[in-house]
């Protein structure tokens, strides 16, 4: 995590001028194999969010898992967290985590977030006071996921390691 933090700090400082190498590095460092599910079962949006968030249930950075989940759903109720290209970023700035955490889930059939069919769900949690880092994380993932080649690589990843590799390519 410290390495990821430093990259985020750099990215935050440099605003939108940071390149794809930094972005890939941030994304790869944020994700760990244990925080990735390549075939989530849920077909409902809320269930899907909770299933992906469940990967962080025992993460040491998550202080109160239930609160974290509540905040994630509350945020999504305010405004859908689905972006384009079949990707969603359920996220929350919350006191329930002490460092930035990211978990990813892949749904082969897709899950509807409103009228958007979503295949990749990235759950992000950040401490409330670290709005800047949170923006870098969400921004970085959104930029990478916009690239067709990366989405294709993520769709065909056979293992969590491949999944991370696809983001770091």
């Amino acid at each position: 995590m410290p390495a990821a933090e430093s990259s985020i700090h750099i990215a935050h400082r440099h605003g939108f001028f940071y390149g794809t190498t930094v972005m890939s590095s941030i994304a790869a460092q944020l994700l760990q194999p244990g925080r990735i599910s390549l075939d989530i079962a849920a077909a409902d949006k809320n269930e899907a969010i909770l299933e992906v968030a469940g990967l962080l249930r025992h993460d040491q950075e998550v202080l109160r898992f239930d609160d974290f989940c509540k905040d994630l759903l509350a945020r999504d109720r305010l405004r859908s967290t689905a972006a384009d290209y079949g990707v969603a970023f359920p996220h929350a700035r919350t006191d329930a985590v002490q460092e930035i955490v990211v978990a990813a889930g892949r749904s082969v059939n897709g899950v509807y977030f409103g009228d958007e069919l979503v295949h990749f769900i990235f759950v992000i949690g950040t401490p409330r006071e670290k709005a800047g880092e949170y923006l870098v994380a969400v921004g970085t993932l959104a930029r990478l996921l916009r690239v067709d080649r990366i989405r294709a690589a993520l769709a065909s990843a056979a293992t969590p390691e491949d999944f991370i590799q696809a983001l770091d390519s």
Binding site: F16, A83, D84, Y85, V111, F113, L135, A142
Partner: protein
Amino acid sequence: MGDVIKAASPPESPKAPRVSRHLVPLLKLRVWLAERFRPTELQVTLMWAGLVGFLAGASSLLFRAATQGVHYLITRSNEGLVNSFTAMPDWQRFVTPIIGGTLAGATILYGMRFSRGSKSTDYMEAIVLGEGNVPFRSSLVKSASALFTIATGGSIGREGPLVQLAAMLASLPGRWRHWPAPRRRLIVACGAAAGIASAYNAPIAGALFVAEIVLGSVAMESFGPLVFASVIATMTVRESPLIGDSPLYKVPTFRLDAAWEILPYALLGVAAGIAAPWFTRFLRFCETCFERTRLPLIPRLALGGAIVGALAIRYPEMAGNGYSSIDGILHDKWTWELLLGIFACKILATGATFGSGAVGGVFTPTLFAGSGLGYLLGCAFHALWPHSGLTPSAFALVGMGAFLAATTHAPLMAMLMVFELTLDYAIILPLMMGCVIAYYLSIGIEPASIYSDALKRKGARLFDEQLSKLHVLDLMKPSPTAVPMTAEFNEIAQNFISHRFNYLYVVDQRRRFLGVVSLHDIKPYLNDPEMANVIIAADILREDFPTVTPAVPLTQALEYFAHHDGERLPVLDAQDRTLLGSISKSDLILAIAERSKADTTPGG
């Protein structure tokens, strides 16, 4: 796959619309500008000052044209006032100012019925005392009344209505945009400066008139916009063929042959310093006399007109504001015996017009009184030393400045005014000498200047309003723009484009303050329209933003600004944190500039 679609949950939350593509370059430009230029409220005020200057210049031209029109309708003459009065038969010389006075009185009497209440229209009061509001209708009524007096030979200056109109136009943006009082006062001051500048084709004097007499300060925070407005106003009137870019008075060449020749000018300063306070007292005495007659407004103004008319039968040269008479003096048109008569009648006519309550300025009549005094003294010195370079018209110029300095208590403005009216640099040494001596003598004789009424009340106000006694509430701009927590990137971006602030306030449904969105924070997402679709205000909210309450003293608010890089701070209700308004750093600086000069103003 189809089953999966059916099984998917129905849409629960609204999906954010796409950020329109054309918004992104605009927002980028906005960020670029904000980061490089960061225009403060003061800089924006400068832009408004420019607009006010233009409006003042345009209204000045319009007023001049209207004066000529009314003059033609009443006298059937296209000539200047003095020429048309000279060509008139005696009865018409007598009747014309009476008609003017009657019309001027009727305009005020009936016009005021259409204006709201009895609020003061005095621009000086609006600047130094009030909220910077110059009433629209009353100002128009007063200007229309002045139009009749001036067009029919009343001895009063057109700079009065010109400044009034300009100040009224200047107060409009402040009222529309709900500026706090200090900024409204400043922009009205800009209007007044532009009015003077356009009346006399004298931008430096225009700015200094307001700075020295009305604001009592040449602090750059307020002086800059005054200068800007004056310059634009002057440029506007100079575009007119009526005025052009030549000085108001064309003067014969002036020279000092020997160093000792400055001494007579110093003596002129002494004479002006003694005479000017009596001129001021004479005008007030006339006012009291007219008040004692207890005549209603229309007959009173008609009586004023009758006095002017009666004097004009003998001396038609004294008709009007004094511009032509000064020109006559400067070009040695009259013998000193004739001038003495014109001079005495002109002073009487000014007393009658001003005393009867006619609307207008006393600036031009003051210039005339000074030039007449100077010329007469100059004749005496010329008779004593006929071979020296002491010419009566040079004395007239210095007399103008010295008399003006002594009546207005603004020597700097007086020096520059005469310099600008004549654009003759050679006159500057005797002029400075005369102005300063006259000023110092006059304040010893009469502590109140010709504009003292407003200034006296200003002193009383400043006594009550020391900076520490002023609170945030006094400068607060109500109802600032705010967005809800759910505001999308699109809405946030729109707000940053249409407003100049760098922090957008976020409130809940009951308008309680939650925090701000910083323009700097959203910068990385300008290239990411998809990303922007998932960001709402709640995601990028800064909750730890400094806030103030209405009861916080300005001194304390200043400390908050010292630790905050933004231009504004949100003002919240102390109990429930409802967003009431915002206070800007520029308004605070203006308020401090106003107060600090109060500490240095004698008697303030």
